[in-house]
């Protein structure tokens, strides 16, 4: 299932707190192709989190249309997995049970869960192994480091095999080394799974390293100013980040965001 648009956002306005409230995004247009890795960058307060909520159906826009997988979003769409900067693991559940949580919610899985528990547990363990957490399923989240919690968080976002993975600054609170490791984890996940990823981030280097397209947003009210195609060959190595062509792209992006902030 390649080709075609998975997410389209057409001329969307989203205002919080009724008429006269803050206009978070205005005239927002964006498309994400199936299988694409899209990154969204922009000055702070540009409505990146609003974008997340619009695509997942947590907010319904006042104007314009959001479609995911060909259908207009009018309620939460369960084909989406989400991960935030704050891992929000539930402390009374083991890591494995935390990863299994979405299956207890998503309609098509919750009915099967009890009867096919073993199959699902196997899948969760496999997923934990993919992100380098084999053997940690029985540990409680608070027994894991921040980086490990974030890995488990990614597993939770992926367990129900979402078509679309929405990441809201998932690596923001991690140290530089852990972040680099997780960039590689997410890079490999994207390469091996049939999943479309939208990554909201402040980190331009992260965006350029991971994404196929980088969408630059304006200051509030947010809209997409420019879309950059990042055509570095895949698989990308961390060493890419120290090459000049990489830094040139980051530099251009930086300039654009500085302009966007100035314009605000």
């Amino acid at each position: 299932m390649s080709g075609g648009d998975l997410v389209t956002i057409e001329d969307v306005d989203m205002r919080y707190g009724g008429p006269g409230g803050t206009l978070a995004v205005s005239g927002l247009n964006m498309t994400v192709r199936r299988g694409e890795f899209a990154a969204v960058v922009g000055p702070s307060g540009c409505g990146k989190s609003t974008l997340m909520k619009l695509v997942t159906g947590l907010h319904i826009p006042q104007r314009g249309v959001v479609t995911v997988s060909g259908t207009e979003v009018t309620k939460p769409v369960s084909i989406v997995g989400m991960a935030f900067q704050n891992p929000t693991m539930l402390p009374w559940r083991t890591t494995l049970d935390n990863v299994l949580l979405p299956l207890e919610i998503v309609e098509r899985h919750r009915k099967r869960l009890r009867a096919h528990k073993k199959e699902y547990v196997e899948k969760a363990e496999q997923l934990l192994e993919t992100v380098g957490l084999q053997g940690f399923g029985s540990k409680y989240p608070w027994q894991l480091s921040g980086g490990m919690q974030q890995r488990a968080n990614l597993c939770r976002a992926l367990i129900h095999e979402p078509e679309l993975l929405m990441l809201d600054e998932p690596f923001g609170a991690l140290d530089a080394f852990t972040r680099e490791e997780l960039w590689q984890v997410i890079r490999d996940l994207h390469a091996s799974w049939d999943v479309t990823i939208v990554l909201v981030t402040h980190d331009l280097r992260e965006a350029v390293f991971l994404a196929d397209t980088v969408h630059v947003m304006s200051a509030r009210p947010g809209r997409v100013l420019k879309v950059h195609e990042i055509d570095f060959e895949r698989p990308r190595d961390i060493a890419l980040m120290y090459e000049n062509r990489f830094n040139d792209v980051v530099h251009t992006l930086r300039g654009e965001i500085a302009d966007a902030r100035e314009a605000a």
Partner: protein
């Protein structure tokens, strides 16, 4: 074992004697010290035991009146526990209801605060009119006074769910009920069990107030009767019994709290 090589030389080192762990004994040492100072102060100052009886005199009274003290203690323990259990059931139910909906929260909260502000001793006569003197007003007073902290704590636990957790689940299509069952209720349990410790001591206050005002049995009744006969050592004996019952119930609640919500006390359990 590959580690045995490295362990052996350590064993040859002079064994440092493990310092005696005084910590578990501390409550006893301090309690005994308190009574010793009290005893000494009474003996030295010569205060008559009709004003402040010495601990030995109180102990004598406990032995002397043991039959009555036992009966009244059990009565108080019964009314307190019954009121407390009602408060747990009612408090949990109302707390979940209040935490469920912002509208119910906004509507009920001021009423509850107002109700909680009413001195419970003023309510006892009303209940005597309704139910007569004795056990029922004591149970209900204990219930009324112990109820509020449970409601507030359960509602707080529900109201402080992280918005990100809620978003993650709602994006998956979770209904309000799912979020309550999967996140809200487990999350509010530490608050709930924490409030039990506060509530059980308050329940004793409630039952004893009611027994003092309107009852024919219970420690409250026994103490007010003893007071009218200037039997001050017996009054103090009643106070000691109340303290003992209070500590025992508090310890029970603390134990339940630790057993049921160990994950919320990770810093202390992990340190061990």
């Amino acid at each position: 074992m590959s580690t045995s090589d490295t362990v052996t030389p350590v064993a040859d080192l002079p064994v440092e004697r493990k310092p005696f762990n005084w910590l578990p004994l501390m409550p006893w040492i301090y309690t005994i010290a308190l009574f010793a100072i009290w005893e000494a102060a009474v003996q030295i100052s010569g205060v008559p035991h009709t004003i402040l009886p010495a601990p030995t005199r109180i102990f004598e009274a406990i032995v002397q009146y043991w039959g009555a003290i036992q009966r009244h203690s059990i009565q108080t323990l019964y009314t307190t526990s019954a009121g407390f259990i009602l408060a747990v059931v009612g408090g949990l139910a109302l707390g979940l209801l209040i935490g469920w909906s912002r509208a119910i929260y906004a509507g009920l909260y001021p009423i509850m605060v107002g109700f909680n502000a009413i001195p419970k001793v003023a309510v006892v006569p009303v209940m005597v009119i309704w139910f007569g003197i004795g056990t029922i007003p004591a149970i209900l007073t204990a219930f009324l006074i112990a109820f509020f902290p449970i409601v507030v704590n359960v509602a707080t636990g529900l109201a402080t769910i992280e918005p990100e957790t809620e978003d993650v689940l709602r994006a998956l299509g979770a209904k309000k009920m799912d979020i309550m069952l999967k996140v809200g209720i487990p999350r509010s349990m530490p608050y709930f069990f924490g409030s039990l410790k506060v509530s059980i001591t308050l329940a004793f206050v409630g039952s004893v107030i009611s027994e003092t005002v309107a009852a024919n049995s219970g420690l409250g009744y026994m103490m007010s009767a003893a007071q009218s006969q200037f039997n001050v050592p017996l009054v103090f004996a009643g106070l000691v019994m109340l303290a003992v019952e209070g500590i025992a119930m508090y310890a029970l609640m603390a134990w339940i709290e630790k057993r049921t919500t160990g994950w919320a006390h990770r810093s202390t359990t992990m340190a061990g």
